[in-house]
Symmetry: D2
Subunit: 410 residues, 4 copies
């Protein structure tokens, strides 16, 4: 056990991180600094302060920050410029939040002179990687403590016994078996893993979903929403400009009301195993669809295809925790370069779980030219005869090969 003087713990105020807090004090005999972030998870944060104080943390060692605007502006929005989806389905809601938490922990470590950081992620998941790659990229000499990989409290019973023994308050739900799922929430999504979901043939219980109504319960009338984009980022909803996190919160409200954004999948973790997860990403689902639509009229074809070719790689980088890597930054430079012309608006229709784009336009950057595309007489905007040469030369290599093949058959 290495020597630790002061550790900054990512602290939610829940049972697990409270036990970690105590365990750090006992095991490392070090000063603990707690850091609790508001990323829009929809929980009160002040109770975390009270719990930390009760566990002996000095007031000046308790950090509670509202990171919602930063989260959406500097992490979620840049990622959506790339249309990032992991494995064809997952919108990376948890993945994109971890680097921000890591970054803030390191800032606090520097501010408080701490020499270590700790988190409550297990040794089987992706989050440990995302936290720790962030720590190391920002402060390579930092000492990282991952209690779930170190201690022997590897069952719920042992954890509760430890809490009991050390006077950590245990809510009734924990005594009754704890949350039925492992959950993570922020402004972009809420996720569910574990327990019942570990059987990939079992449909999630209706009661699991928290942010969206069931499509069956959604309004019988569709709702139209207009999203305005500037340089690839959402800036207004139905004409009303808001700050980034307010926009995403508004989209969540709209999507949630219409049952948009539920997802049930088996994904491949970076640590090498497959895992079942369920997600609700109401606002993000709308945003992705609309962003693709505004790009469809403002991006050049080859630029769009280049982005599509690189997207899975970009998404995997974020999934795997490489937000602060130079390769993510290089890809971001390319992506951001392309978004200069992504200005305009998109109208979507929300209805019982689906999002459909029905209109899109750009006053300044539309590359859609109806005078060329028209089935009607285009008055010479496009010379159909050009197509013959285009096809003749594009087929030249195929024709040469076919002639050779014919000769070979003879």
């Amino acid at each position: 056990m290495s020597d630790v003087r002061k550790v900054v713990l990512a602290y939610s105020g829940g049972l697990d991180t409270s036990v970690i807090l105590k365990w750090l004090q006992d095991t490392y005999r070090c000063e603990v600094v707690t850091f609790t972030a508001d990323l829009g998870q929809g929980e009160e944060l002040e109770p975390a302060r009270q719990k930390a104080l009760a566990l002996g943390i000095k007031p000046e060692n308790i950090f509670i920050d509202d990171l919602r605007e930063t989260f959406v502006r500097d992490f979620v929005f840049p990622m959506f410029r790339a249309n990032a989806i992991y494995e064809g389905e997952y919108l990376l809601g948890t993945s994109i939040a971890r680097p921000l938490i890591a970054k803030r922990q390191i800032e606090i470590a520097r501010a408080t002179g701490a020499d270590a950081v700790a988190h409550g992620a297990t040794g089987k998941g992706n989050d440990q990687v995302r936290f720790e790659l962030g720590y190391y990229a920002l402060m390579p000499e930092i000492k990282v403590i991952a209690p779930w990989r170190e201690w022997d409290l590897n069952s719920r019973e042992k954890l509760l016994a430890y809490a009991e023994k050390h006077g950590i308050p245990i809510e009734q739900k924990h005594r009754e078996g704890g949350a039925p799922y492992s959950m993570d929430a922020n402004l972009l999504h809420i996720s569910y893993e574990g327990r019942h979901l570990e059987d990939p043939t079992a449909e999630p219980e209706a009661s699991m979903w928290r942010w969206t109504v069931a499509p069956e319960e959604a309004p019988d009338t569709p709702e139209y929403v207009e999203l305005t984009f500037e340089k690839g980022d959402l800036v207004a909803i139905d004409g009303e400009r808001m700050r980034p996190h307010e926009l995403l919160a508004k989209l969540n409200e709209l999507g949630g009301k219409h049952g948009v954004g539920r997802l049930d999948l088996v994904e491949n973790r970076y640590v090498g195993m497959k895992s079942r997860g369920c997600y609700e990403t109401p606002g993000g689902t709308i945003l992705l669809k609309a962003h693709r639509a505004i790009e469809s009229i403002t991006l050049d074809r080859e630029v769009a295809h280049l982005k599509d070719d690189l997207m899975p790689r970009y998404a995997a980088l974020i999934y795997n925790g490489y937000w602060f890597s130079p390769e993510r930054q290089a890809l971001q430079a390319l992506i951001d370069f392309t978004q200069q012309t992504v200005n305009g608006w998109v109208r979507v229709k929300l209805y019982k779980g689906s999002v459909m784009v029905v209109a899109r336009d750009s006053a300044t950057d539309s590359l859609f030219d109806p005078t060329i595309a028209t089935f009607e007489d285009d008055r010479g905007a496009y010379n159909q005869k050009d197509a013959e040469g285009f096809i003749r030369l594009n087929s030249l290599r195929l024709r040469i090969a076919a002639k050779l093949a014919a000769k070979r058959r003879r």
Copy 2:
């Protein structure tokens, strides 16, 4: 005008290709062979025979083929093994049918000793490219006639006047202004382009859609469907084995009933312009979702990512008409190699326009290992301590760079 002796025309029996038939006879003074394919577009084909006869085609020069099974087994299914989507949205329903038509035309040309082929696609679209790349790849010396690029019948009025003059029967709808949209249908989809849709801000009229009910009109009760896959191909629905085209027809019926598979987008054509299109792909939408789900438990992570990285390229090849190219075949060799283990079943829930995967399993090939993924005690199946070394080495390059950056700042 080059010398043509006998031409095989892709003939639908409609007004346009009837005018083309006549125009070919008049312009090239050549024998015309008509070819009409059943690709599941849902139209009677026998009327095409009567029309061809009426236009003077010899009975032995009229070819009407049911290509539905070939279409789905040898074109649609191989494409779905790749999870192909063009520009994030389009399921390539028209693109995948053209090569088969081209192939059959060439076979008929060989069988009848024809020296030319003709099609009814315009000089602005993708279909001319898809047809002609197919022709050239299969019979490089063939003469290709694309009347829309040659003649001067470049308005509806001129076309009708020509038909009138040559005694080609004109249905009432044409006199009233013709179809409100340009449509193309086959077992995979129906597409709409032109007219009203040329304004990308105009939502399609409700009356346009033909294959799917509006989600608003779909049943109030969700329906569960189970799809069984073998080597990446659908082989049974709800346990009932059917032939490929029967399976896709069944999925279309199910999807259509639940309003699944409508799409409204602006896409980038190979000839260089953007165009608005609307599509209904009810069965294909379900199939893609389910195929990804069965892959999610049977494919290795890196294989899945490799496929994802290559998918946009594969999709663009098909969109652009390169089905018979060696690069498509090389990619297909890779894709087919990966599908050996893609065996199992997927359960989806259809409801008012949405498809949700709720369960998936494989008796023989599941790589999902609950003993490793579990949040509970795994009895040593996975050593959480391994994660530390994994993260330490994955971060090594980041740590070295961060140390250098810190030194540089000093």
Copy 3:
């Protein structure tokens, strides 16, 4: 034949473009503006002025520009940041010069109020595409005249007869059959195509090569050269800072002396055919090798791999003439982003046709850390035990699959 008022011709002063000049005057009855560029091809340009005057071009319509510095700084160097090679071998010497010529022609067209541009590239090659894509990207309404695709002077005899008839001076070499090869030269390379080379089994004659001595004739003593890089660009040779084109000229001199940079290959043209070409790129060959070497110690691994993955695509864009396309610019944004840390020096050894890197270092940006890499005791800089977890988790998916395969076999 469309109406043309004034045309800017890319004019070398040679026989072919002199005939074109005359043909343009006769055929289009338009004013001709000549543009002759010094790209370091090593020819006197003033004779071109005399010839243009003799053909009746007004003095104010004759443009002769020294573009050497721009060429190397704004075209060659950005391309070398990408380590661009086409089809594993070709350093893109001709490809990279065409966009600059096109750009300058368009500038002159704007300055002189011309409504057309013309070039002397044939209808079979890549250069026509590179010129014209440049023209269209920079001035979409410009009229492009490509005489080789229009006229009927499609044999050497007809061309000479035309020249004779119109009083265009014909050098003796043309009367004797013309140049044995089609050549193109600029500061980056000289290329040879055609004639004897059209047989891909025929070795080029020793007399063909112009810029490099035969390795057999090169000095018997190796020469060491040190190249200094800043942000990925060469800035000094053996410690002497020079301007970009001076540096490349110096490298050409060094490489030429030691027989470096000869290449004989069959390449795939954009228009669809294969063609044999020979190239001498003495300076470029040294530069590429050295640039990779300085990157080897200053670039992050994943950034380097990302660049390698994208390089063939970038090279094909340049080969095909898409320098002014948004996708090339987006890739350049990524590439340039990565070059911020590419600072340092490289020592190479030149000897009888080969370039070998023997040393490289960076005072500010070396990521090479001997304390970690050492085979000797590293005093704890690297914990070898980390490798176990790294391997265990990287193999997890392979182990799961192998277990399943074993179970299946049973």
Copy 4:
């Protein structure tokens, strides 16, 4: 320390693996099986048997196999079909040998009922990863012992002391400081790392290189060699058919004589650090050049580009040790598919360190069509006018964007 009954050790007979042998016996108290492979490293293997016997290994536990043919046919040649190069330079000589050793070790483990395998690679290098990924992919339950990560013999002194103490014979060279470099050799290459080379600014000593003469010492007369390929594999040299390993040995002899294939570079290891390495790959350097040349006339352009795009990924997989992974196999399926037409011959010229292709042809599969490529009159094989339409449509998106940009500027 886990329980081990019998371990198969990759045993070279040298000091290090002899110490490991003894250490395994002492530490694990287990039976040791030795495996020594002839991969063409050019060393006698029988001394390894004597040493093993002397260290108490039972005769039936000593395996000495000649794997040269398998190595070249099933590992080297498939890799060369891909034109694999790591980081633009390295021909993967060590990387490609490790999987075969791992495979044979596992076969021996199965044959002898061993429950563990061991190797002599350190915890800092790539080889540990390559060995162990192989072991785990082929026998996931195997116990892996990597002594260099476990023991405390982490200096040369301790190792010698251990050998001395246990009666392991120590050659004089070890007493004098050991080999000046860490070396690895097989039929494809010999590599040098460590010591003097740990300074990336220090040129290797002339005495280091073992397989190639210095270019300065190479013959003054160039030598021409003709290589014949079938399905992408070398089958004959100068018309003489030989077995794969004989062919590679012959190429090594030719390359070595002419000073071909020396390389000095800094590479990025999979474990995260940069390291300096020098390599001699005489035959491989010739083979790669020739393979690209035969592909240049027999492969379709887009297939060649697809291979180029995927090559760095394939090379990294091999470098990182993923030979037995499904993603490498999927890529191989694509690559092998493309090689069906790669038949023909290539003539290269070897001279003082350089390899130059001077001729190439294929009687059956050449796609080079001189009637089309010719600068002379092609009698209509190619219609130059086609190029206009080709360029017009390829530039359409650029023209639309340029028009929009012009409008925006106004």
